[in-house]
């Protein structure tokens, strides 16, 4: 069974704003799906539709076969959700909060406490377990929210900017944890984020939204091919003959366009034969960031 299926999913807010337009997509179980797009693209709205917090204006979606608009509580029983609006209780400690939500998900008192401890440990929050949530920093709150989402060992995780406000070390820790969940436990991740470098590290597939529409969807490779057929090769060398068609980018750095990786050895051989002195060669595929800018038509920002 697919983990998530969208069929012509559309949402128009009461004010008339069309936040999501005819989304068609399906995700396999165990996929780590990066849902990207500029502010106001409709990412959070999509997450709310998937969790049944909003109901679609047209079309539908299914999460592990369940329609969240019909049976949100069933979807919630196997999902974990982190969004910026889902806060916890300031007057309770981190531990008490987790114990409460564990009970809400039907864990026994003992299971709840044990699971909470384990997650606090994994997220490096053990020291703050006894502190009131009111005294938590932004990043700590965010980590506790993630712990809350993971309490009942969900099959699907909806994460809306889960790492915003976290320090780089925590981001790495969280990324490692999420990747392990997907790989070892087959958890499906639906991840909205603006942190493209981190997304590139863990996502297996991406969807790019803009103004409510899905602009592009696919693996990094598929997206790379879509943006520019082929790749760039960068060579640091001296005495480069003009005949090879390399362009001088900076002092001693040359760049050439090729269509496949297999062309690199030939290019290097030719260069050597023609008397070039090579110091380094690197093949460059466009990063997620470059693809993002290319697809959203905002390339000028990069220059």
């Amino acid at each position: 069974m697919e983990a998530i299926v969208f069929e012509q999913l559309s949402k128009t807010y009461p004010g008339g704003k069309e936040a999501v337009k005819e989304l068609n997509l399906s995700l396999e179980q165990g996929e780590v799906f990066g849902f990207l797009g500029p502010n106001g693209a409709g990412k959070t709205t999509t997450v709310k539709l998937l969790t049944g917090i909003l109901s679609p204006s047209r079309g539908s979606c299914r999460v592990l076969g369940v329609d969240p608009a019909q049976h949100p509580e069933q979807v919630h029983s196997f999902s974990g959700v982190v969004t910026e609006h889902a806060q916890m209780y300031d007057h309770l400690t981190g531990m008490e909060n987790l114990e409460f939500y564990a009970a809400l998900f039907g864990l026994s008192r003992q299971q709840g406490t044990q699971r909470a401890k384990q997650l606090l440990e994994q997220l490096d929050l053990s020291d703050a377990a006894g502190q009131k949530l009111g005294a938590y920093s932004t990043g700590m709150r965010q980590k506790l929210s993630l712990a809350r989402a993971l309490l009942a060992q969900p099959k699907i995780l909806f994460l809306d900017e889960p790492t915003s406000g976290m320090d780089p070390e925590s981001v790495l820790r969280v990324n490692r944890m999420l990747r392990r969940l997907a790989k070892e436990e087959g958890v499906t991740l639906f991840l909205c984020t603006h942190q493209l470098r981190y997304a590139q590290e863990i996502c297996t597939r991406y969807g790019l939204m803009e103004q409510g529409r899905l602009l592009a969807c696919g693996t990094l490779e598929e997206l790379q091919n879509r943006v520019s057929a082929g790749m760039k090769v960068q060579i640091r060398a001296k005495k480069v003959p003009p005949a090879l068609g390399l362009a001088l980018k900076a002092d001693g750095i040359w760049e050439g366009n090729i269509s496949r990786e297999e062309e690199i050895p030939k290019l290097v051989r030719q260069l050597v034969e023609l008397g070039g002195e090579i110091y380094s060669v690197s093949a460059q595929t466009p990063s997620l960031e470059e693809i993002y800018f290319a697809l959203t038509g905002a390339q000028e920002v990069l220059l």
Binding site: H85, A86, Q87
Partner: protein
């Protein structure tokens, strides 16, 4: 009941009872109504029993009890006709304060959305909230009753040398009418506050619930209406039915979207 519902009730109940200032403020008015006010009555009744207004009021009491002494009459009237009305008002007041904080407070602090992500239907969340409010309001009622009985009986004992036995109508009030009215009030207020955006807004709605009770109280004071045990019993059963119906029906047409916007 699901363990998750129990967890919600437990959290809400503890949230009020362990917050000393909130709990004290919930108790202040009931204690004034049920301890301070009747004490003043009893003491002034003891020292100035010839007040003409009082005489007139007493003549309205049923024949059977008019045979006792004047002071005893006052006490009878106080304990069995005036004070019970307060026990209809107390749960409504408590409920309005509790219910307002339970949905709107969660909305304002942005914890409601998190609650909605739990594997509970809206109806179950709603019921858990109502039951938590109900328990607190019953607790406040019982504390008030115990305090009232203790203080009043002590005063009576010292002033007249004998206590007074609360009538059978108390049983009906405490165990049936008061809980039922309390449930109705809470269901309505929680529903109302699910729509409201601020705590104030949701409390305004509660004011209207007090009106019938105030009318009833005025009726009692002026002697227009003397509630017999049977009328009370009937009233109680009726209220319990309405409460049950409301609890079953409420939230039927609510969606997460309406609740959060």
């Amino acid at each position: 009941m699901k363990r998750s519902m129990y967890a919600m009730i437990h959290k809400d109940f503890r949230g009020v009872v362990s917050n000393r200032r909130l709990f004290a403020s919930l108790l202040i008015v009931p204690i004034v109504l049920t301890v301070l006010l009747p004490s003043i009555f009893v003491i002034t009744g003891h020292f100035t029993p010839d007040d003409p207004d009082l005489q007139q009021m007493l003549s309205l009491l049923p024949e059977s009890i008019q045979e006792s002494s004047l002071e005893q009459l006052i006490h009878q009237m106080l304990l069995n006709y005036i004070l019970p009305v307060f026990f209809l008002m107390i749960p409504i007041m408590t409920a309005s304060i509790m219910a307002a904080s339970s949905f709107v407070g969660e909305k304002e602090k942005r914890t409601l959305e998190t609650l909605l992500y739990a594997p509970l239907t809206l109806k179950e969340i709603f019921r858990a909230k109502v039951l938590a409010c109900f328990l607190v309001s019953m607790l406040v009622s019982l504390i008030s009753f115990a305090a009232m009985l203790l203080v009043l009986e002590t005063e009576l004992f010292f002033l007249t040398g004998s206590g007074l036995f609360p009538g059978i109508s108390w049983l009906v009030i405490l165990l049936l009418v008061s809980p039922a009215i309390s449930l109705i009030a809470i269901t309505l207020i929680v529903r109302q506050s699910a729509k409201a955006k601020t705590v104030e807004e949701s409390q305004q709605g509660a004011v209207f619930l007090i009106i019938p009770i105030v009318l009833l109280a005025i009726g009692q004071f002026t002697g227009v209406l003397m509630l017999s045990v049977w009328v009370l019993l009937g009233l109680g059963v009726l209220c319990a039915l309405v409460a049950g119906l409301l609890l079953k029906r409420a939230m039927g047409n609510f969606t997460y979207e309406k609740l959060l916007s």
